[in-house]
């Protein structure tokens, strides 16, 4: 497909991004660059200085809500993308409402218990919707361990073993690889 043909397909598609942190912000930017039609981004948090080692925000955005800051950044990259920025904490009650019209949902949470809640909710409410999960993003090097594994409509991106820890922080290169892998899987599904 030419890039024009790709844009013609993507402009009619909607992707939900659950969490606008390391995975979510980078995945959203990659999808915005290629011309996704609509992004629904949900995150209740604000940008802090410690986020800047991996999240797609800038120094002068410290203190701003992440959903709003990410929307602003995306509009500067590609004004044609519609970004619906929701400053909310996602729950099993509001996930089915917020992501109902998404073609694909990207799981980009930080905590394992939040990931569990989201995956359970999507598998219960929308078992047919592709769900792109980010799992195992911490540290550096070990490129070969990062993979994408399909289980029914779930696509698991990451190495599935590197959990964040004080001596194994999540940092831009590896987090960016997994986030872009998630975006790449989104394209694979939408451009079939």
């Amino acid at each position: 497909m030419t890039f024009e043909e790709i844009k013609n397909v993507l402009q009619h598609k909607t992707v939900g991004i659950a969490g606008a942190g390391g995975l979510g912000s980078n995945c959203a930017v990659a999808l915005a660059r290629v011309g996704i039609g609509t992004l629904i981004v949900a995150d209740f948090d604000v940008v802090s200085e410690s986020n800047l080692n991996r999240q797609y925000f800038f120094y002068n955005q410290i203190g701003k809500p992440k959903a709003d800051a990410l929307k602003a950044n995306i509009q500067r990259i590609n004004p044609a993308v519609t970004v619906i920025a929701r400053k909310i904490c996602l729950t099993k009650e509001n996930i089915p409402i917020l992501f109902r019209d998404c073609d694909i949902i990207v799981e980009a949470f930080d905590r394992a218990d939040q990931k569990e809640m989201l995956i359970e909710t999507v598998l219960t409410e929308f078992p047919e919707k592709p769900l792109i999960i980010g799992l195992g993003t911490a540290g550096w090097g070990k490129n070969d361990a990062i993979h994408c594994r399909k289980v029914d409509n779930m696509f698991i991106c990451g190495d599935e073993i590197s959990e964040i820890a004080p001596d194994l922080p999540p940092i831009a290169p590896r987090v960016g690889i997994v986030a872009n892998m998630q975006a790449n899987v989104v394209l694979e599904i939408l451009l079939k």
């Binding site: 980009a108 930080d110 394992a112 990931k115 569990e116 995956i119 359970e120 698991i156």
Partner: protein
């Protein structure tokens, strides 16, 4: 009985096994899990009462923090 666990064939004793028993057997000690049998999610509260049978495809996903 023979099952597929995370894409790998496994042979287990008996005709059926509960999910909790399988988790103990395989030393799956992580607390945050997603378990599907034949493509259907099993709710956490049902791990003790849900049985796996011969021919089932089981996937156990360990969730870890980071993202």
């Amino acid at each position: 009985m023979k099952i597929i666990l995370n894409n790998n064939p496994e042979t287990l004793e008996g005709d059926s096994i509960t999910i909790n028993h399988l988790l103990q057997l395989k030393n799956f000690t992580f607390k945050m899990l997603i378990i599907k049998i034949n493509g259907i999610l099993v709710q956490k509260g049902d791990y003790e009462i849900t049985a796996i049978h011969d021919g089932d495809e089981v996937s156990v996903l360990h969730l870890i923090s980071g993202g």
